[in-house]
């Protein structure tokens, strides 16, 4: 009798071959149900979660990043978050959702749902559409919820190239990156027919799809753009770490929508996800501060905020699968490894990853994805986790995102260029690119 892993491998191979000869969409159109099939409790929670996750980017991430750059680049940094939110929103409705969340091949979804074709809310006939992934909530809510993930992922990357990228180049990069990197990876992991989902990779809320993906892209951006003028020679004083703390707090609270919302239900699993999310964030914060105190003899506010985000990142893939012990362990590991990622590893990589996107999101995502394979509990998740599969999923996403990001950056460089002029960088992007500034 074949073991579970053999069955899984066989199923994966069948799907792989089937995908290569993919002949057409399966279940491409959503199901139409009557309103009594919809759970008002689930719907209320998912509406709330959607708002919480959007708050993570605007204003959460915008404030988090804006507080860490120099005064002359605060407004341009915040503007990037808002711009990305708007670009991705349009792309998602036009084509992104269809390619990510409809069954197609194991690599990418279909185009049958372009412009959300088939999404229905018919009050007169008492019918509405639901996604096959979330049958207890209206499809419109699921589309919006997934959109907020599609927004925050590229917005995270902006921290790596802060203070030196042309605005037009940023727009071009984010547009292409959303469609060529985020959408396929979301399909691989979260669409039940995606090849990583079939392989059994566990990623409850986006450790791979969001954080490893963004971290790898951020590192490539830092390499391709090169260091900021004066990097390593003059101090880059953060504008206002109070803004960063406000942003981090919004991220922390918003993360309850991110992780507990990924249960797509108002149930016990969502409750567990919220609990472990909070525990991991608190543990990572304390760990980061402890490491700071041991190495530098003082704890810092930026360190506390960074530790919190590191813990939140690392618990993300595990949040629907682990218990309290797992949360403590993942939080502690995240605090330790992400501190190293933002300090020691950063020096080794020798890239000006301005706001440590790879050090925190890349490393935190890897820590979380791998430790999910260690701490996932079948009694909570309903399925056995496989450490090898977790590692494969994490590193393939890392390499795919890095390679594709590199290609997109090269294309952008060859067409409109990546960097502002040294004079613009000296004066600041707020004034030279956008004609406004903080007095």
């Amino acid at each position: 009798m074949p073991g579970a892993s053999q069955k899984s491998t066989l199923r994966f191979l069948c799907l792989l071959i089937g995908g290569l000869f993919w002949a057409g969409p399966l279940l491409a159109q959503p199901s139409l149900v009557t309103p009594d099939k919809i759970s008002s409790g689930d719907t209320a929670w998912m509406l709330t979660s959607t708002a919480l996750v959007l708050l993570m980017t605007i204003p959460g991430l915008a404030l988090f990043y804006a507080g860490m750059v120099r005064q002359k680049n605060v407004l341009s940094t915040a503007l990037q978050s808002i711009t990305i939110a708007c670009i991705v929103s349009v792309l998602w409705m036009v084509v992104g959702y269809s390619l990510a969340f409809t069954p197609g091949s194991p690599w990418i979804g279909g185009l049958d749902r372009v412009m959300l074709q088939g999404m229905t809310f018919d009050k007169l006939q008492g019918l509405l559409s639901v996604s096959h992934i979330a049958p207890s909530i209206p499809e419109s809510v699921f589309v919006m919820y997934q959109l907020t993930f599609a927004i925050i992922t590229p917005a995270l990357i902006a921290g790596a190239f802060a203070e030196r990228m042309k605005f037009g180049a940023m727009v071009m990069f984010m547009t292409l990156w959303s469609l060529l990197v985020y959408v396929p990876v979301a399909h691989w992991v979260w669409e039940p027919g995606g090849w990583l989902a079939v392989l059994g990779a566990q990623d409850f809320a986006g450790g791979t799809v969001v954080h490893i993906n963004a971290g790898a892209a951020g590192l490539m951006c830092a390499f391709m753009l090169g260091p900021r003028e004066g990097y390593g020679k003059v101090p880059f004083i953060p504008y206002n770490l109070g803004l960063t703390m406000t942003g981090a707090a919004l991220l922390w609270v918003g993360w309850f929508g991110f992780n507990a919302g990924s249960a797509v239900a108002a149930d016990g699993r969502a409750g567990m996800a919220m609990l472990v999310t909070h525990v991991a964030a608190a543990t990572a914060t304390l760990t980061w501060m402890l490491v700071e105190w041991v190495t530098r003899r003082h704890a810092t506010l930026l360190g506390a905020c960074s530790g919190a985000v590191a813990g939140l990142v690392a618990i993300t893939p595990a949040s629907g699968f682990v218990d309290l012990t797992g949360a403590f362990a993942i939080g502690a590991a995240a605090g330790l490894f992400c501190y190293w990622g933002a300090t020691g590893l950063k020096r080794v990589l020798d890239a000006d990853d301005s706001l440590d996107v790879f050090g925190i999101h890349g490393i935190g995502g890897l820590v979380g994805a791998i430790l999910t394979g260690v701490f996932s509990q079948k009694i909570i998740s309903g399925a056995e986790a496989n450490l090898a599969v977790q590692v494969i999923g994490a590193f393939i996403t890392l390499f795919y995102s890095a390679l594709m990001s590199l290609l997109i950056l090269l294309l952008t460089k060859l067409t409109i260029g990546l960097r502002v002029t040294p004079e613009q960088e000296e004066v600041g992007l707020d004034l030279t690119l956008h004609g406004e500034k903080i007095p």
């Binding site: 950063k346 301005s354 440590d356």
Partner: protein, 101 residues
């Protein structure tokens, strides 16, 4: 178009004057307000920097004014000695040089 060029020239002038004279110019206002621009150009003309002279010349063309005769070279003004950095300032500078966290 001229306004965009004025803004660009003002940005360049900002960099040059800040570096050589430690003078901060309001770029946006200089691009909008002729009187302010003229006053800044008067100050900039005193700079021995050839690049600054070129910027001033072009800016004056955009303003539609003839370039005034170069002002006599002012006597060098002794700059006040910079304040010695405190230990705290040194620590802050060290902390944020090459890394954020």
């Amino acid at each position: 178009m001229a306004e965009t060029e004025r803004f660009g020239l003002a940005s360049h002038l900002y960099v040059k004057l800040r570096r050589s004279h430690a003078r901060v110019v309001d770029v946006a206002w200089m691009a909008q307000n002729d009187e302010y621009a003229k006053e800044i150009l008067r100050i900039a003309r005193e700079s021995p920097d050839a690049d600054v002279a070129k910027i001033v010349e072009r800016f004056e063309e955009l303003l539609g004014i003839r370039r005034a005769a170069p002002a006599p070279t002012p006597a060098p003004v002794a700059k006040p000695a910079p304040k010695p950095a405190t230990a705290l300032e040194k620590e802050v500078a060290r902390h944020y040089t090459g890394h954020l966290r």
